[in-house]
């Protein structure tokens, strides 16, 4: 941990939808930024630096869009950084912003991540063949489905586990007014009957394509103490990366994810994540990734993740709620999805999660994001008490 105690003191996000035809990209990010600033009792003039994150520029067709967004985010005359670490970027961006404060370089940092998928088509944006390299897949689902089949083969999980997650997260999203998908009539049969995309993933096992933005105001201890609202203190941050492919790489349960979790838990004093967290907001873009990440993140023994899901342990009223906001399965503005996980974890410990607030016992929550070929990981632990 850095030398300066650091906290999230403002959170803002747009309502996530398929297409925001009513605003430009600048208008979209500004909505989230203004809401976060208002929450922190600040305006753009109070901010020392701005950190922007998003997934590949091909998703909107704007090269380094943060340059064009400098005005809209009040960054003119200030330092502006742009982070891009694949799907984990929303989490990485929050961590880069937090480090600007932990290091003592700045006191008040605004960080914003977004994706306006309606400007382009993400699946094709992901599928461009790179010069000199072999074409691999079409989109993310085609990449991850074989890994899910490997997980099922390895763990012996019943085939309906993914569908249980798909239903659980969509029902949770009914309590989140900003979630993209509100599917009140969803049940196991609906998911099972939705069409097959990539075996075993059916349409309702996958995340939507969303337009949306997320913003956080991160402040140093003295700033957080003086903030009008509660603070989510950052107890640990970690990032890990590993190469996409090499012989013997475990892509189902990647080492980088395990190492990242071990690092952030050690910083935050987490020894039993299932007991030590009140909830977790984890990047689950395809339903089966809940049991897979339950194991990777040490919430249970390897091979047991699906049993927690099946027993309802991860439901909003379970002993360790995962994604009480509805998660990535209910809203997926790709570049923002990681920061939404980090921000929703912060809102839980600030007791600002509204109708999907979980009861606080330990006062700690986990935010998680991953990206690339399950190779980039970013995580933070936030709590309602200052770190010791």
């Amino acid at each position: 941990m850095g030398s300066v105690r650091t906290a999230v003191i403002g959170v803002g996000q747009t309502r996530h939808v398929s297409a925001r035809h009513d605003v430009s990209i600048a208008g979209l990010v500004r909505e989230a930024a203004l809401e976060a600033l208002d929450d922190a009792g600040m305006d753009f003039g109070d901010i020392d630096a701005v950190v922007v994150g998003k997934a590949p520029d091909t998703f909107e067709g704007v090269l380094m869009p943060e340059l064009y967004l400098a005005d809209a985010l009040g960054a003119v005359g200030k330092p502006l950084l742009r982070v891009h670490t694949a799907g984990s970027v929303g989490g990485s961006t929050a961590i880069v912003a937090a480090k600007l404060v932990m290091s003592g370089v700045h006191k008040r940092v605004l960080t914003v991540s977004f994706e306006k998928q309606s400007e382009s088509n993400a699946t094709w944006g992901l599928s461009v063949q790179m010069p000199f390299s072999a074409p691999l897949v079409a989109g993310a689902g085609g990449y991850f489905a074989p890994l899910i089949r490997a997980y099922i083969a390895r763990s012996g999980a019943p085939r309906n586990i993914g569908h249980l997650v798909a239903v659980k997260d969509r029902l949770a999203a009914l309590r989140n007014p900003k979630a993209h998908l509100h599917l009140p009539d969803i049940d196991l049969a609906t998911v099972e009957e939705s069409f097959l995309l990539w075996d075993p993933l059916r349409y309702l096992d996958t995340c939507p394509s969303s337009d949306g933005a997320m913003a956080l105001v991160i402040g140093a201890e003295d700033v957080a103490d003086a903030a009008p609202g509660p603070a989510a203190w950052i107890h640990g941050t970690a990032m890990r990366s590993e190469p996409t492919m090499f012989a013997g790489r475990d892509q189902v349960n990647p080492q980088a994810g395990k190492d990242c979790a071990a690092d952030v838990y050690a910083q935050a004093g987490i020894t039993n994540p299932r007991e030590d967290f009140d909830c977790a907001e984890v990047y689950v873009p395809f339903s089966w990734y809940e049991p897979m990440w339950l194991e990777n993140l040490g919430f249970c023994a390897e091979g047991d993740g699906w049993k927690l899901t099946q027993a309802g342990a991860t439901a909003p009223d379970g002993d360790i709620p995962w994604n009480p906001s509805g998660g990535v399965l209910s809203s997926n503005p790709i570049g923002a999805s990681g920061m939404i996980r980090f921000g929703e974890a912060a809102q839980q410990v600030r007791e600002r999660a509204g109708d999907f607030q979980v009861p606080l016992q330990t006062g700690k929550a986990l935010g998680h994001a991953y990206g690339g070929g399950s190779q980039f990981f970013s995580m933070w632990v936030v709590g309602n008490q200052k770190p010791s």
């Binding site: 941990m1 850095g2 030398s3 430009s24 990209i25 997934a55 590949p56 520029d57 091909t58 998703f59 909107e60 067709g61 704007v62 090269l63 380094m64 869009p65 340059l67 064009y68 967004l69 400098a70 005005d71 960054a75 003119v76 005359g77 330092p79 502006l80 950084l81 742009r82 982070v83 891009h84 670490t85 694949a86 990485s92 880069v96 480090k99 932990m102 290091s103 003592g104 370089v105 400007e119 944006g125 992901l126 461009v128 790179m130 010069p131 000199f132 970690a238 990032m239 890990r240 990366s241 590993e242 190469p243 996409t244 090499f246 990647p254 080492q255 190492d259 990242c260 190779q375 980039f376």
Partner: protein, 350 residues
């Protein structure tokens, strides 16, 4: 703040390299910089790169970079979609947190795979400016025109910058453009983007660069003459060139002020001037005087591998401090249309 120094640097450049892909471009600079740092690869705590997806034409260009950087067992790693000089800034911040003591930074780009000047149009406002397709050179020419219209700078002054850069580039093995030329000879050449001539415009370059930085204890243990980062800051101007004074660079001046650069005293400055008029504007913003030798490497007018070129400016100042040639130097990096975003790094020997 912890004392942090640059302890090693490597670069590669080429014109239209059709033989090697990005990974093959990164491997030699990473290996060379790591070897020169004296640290084992796995003893370098943090890794970060700067690159641009649009240069390669697909998403996640930086992901392949991991194959070159070495990421097994898993590493603490990040990436900015910015010139790698900003990756160095993020690494410097990471060292300031106390969590890490050393960092490998690399940047790379193959500009020759596309019409890079036209590609940069996509950095402009996508609704009101990009549909007009002004190229990077078109926008720079507007800036040069504004500077000349002001009356203090002439085309001959721009040609003098270009001629000096081309002559200095003769001593730089990584320059892709160099020649023994004078102002009169350059002025006799055709104007290609009024008021600019080809020699006023940085060459399209493929390339890569890597740097290792370290906190004081590590730097002193590994490097005989580290280049200490005495100040580093970056600032951005408004995107719309119509609201900016194009003859000045407010963001460079502010970054220079924050980095402690404005009291001068530099033996050399490496300015990321992609056009000859950029150098004039930057030198004015930073208050550089005749005592400072500008772009002894030939600068970006000699070689300009996008996404690595700003980092190379820092590396060139390190190289001279490390060799004992200079005691205090300034490095500058830029990105965005018409010098929109600027980074200033002040470096000194012991």
């Amino acid at each position: 703040m912890r004392d942090v120094a640059v302890i090693s640097f490597a670069q590669r450049t080429a014109v239209k390299d059709r033989e090697r892909n990005e990974v093959e471009f990164i491997i030699p600079v990473v290996q060379e910089a790591v070897a020169a740092s004296g640290l084992a690869r796995h003893d370098i705590d943090f890794t970060i790169s700067g690159s641009c997806d649009y240069l390669s034409g697909g998403p996640f260009t930086f992901v392949q970079g991991l194959d070159a950087a070495g990421a097994w067992p898993p590493i603490k790693e990040s990436h900015v979609e910015m010139d790698a000089a900003w990756a160095l800034y993020e690494a410097w911040v990471a060292i300031q947190t106390g969590e890490v003591d050393s960092a490998l930074i690399y940047g790379f780009g193959k500009s020759s795979l596309t019409d890079v000047h036209q590609l940069i149009t996509l950095q402009t406002d996508p609704y009101t400016v990009a549909p007009l397709w002004p190229s990077m050179v078109d926008l720079a020419a507007l800036q040069a025109s504004a500077l000349l219209a002001e009356g203090d700078v002439t085309e001959a002054d721009l040609a003098a910058v270009a001629a000096r850069s081309r002559r200095d580039a003769r001593d730089n093995p990584y320059a892709v453009v160099s020649e023994d030329v004078d102002v009169a000879a350059l002025l006799a050449r055709p104007v290609t983007h009024a008021p600019l001539r080809d020699a006023d415009i940085a060459p399209v370059t493929d390339g890569s660069a890597a740097i290792v930085i370290a906190a004081a204890d590590v730097a002193r243990a590994q490097c005989e003459r580290p280049a200490w980062i005495r100040g580093i800051d970056h600032r951005i101007d408004a995107p719309h060139i119509g609201v900016r004074d194009l003859t000045a660079s407010a963001s460079t001046q502010r970054a220079g002020e924050e980095a402690g650069a404005l009291q001068g005293g530099f033996d050399a400055a490496e300015l990321h001037a992609q056009f000859s008029h950029d150098e004039v504007i930057l030198a004015r913003a930073l208050g550089l005087d005749a005592g400072t030798r500008i772009n002894p490497s030939g600068g970006a007018l000699g070689a300009n591998p996008m996404m690595a070129s700003g980092l190379i400016r820092i590396g060139e100042i390190f190289r001279r401090i490390n060799a004992g040639e200079i005691g205090r130097g300034l490095a500058h990096a830029t990105q965005g249309p018409c010098l929109q975003q600027n980074l200033v790094c002040v470096m000194e020997g012991e």
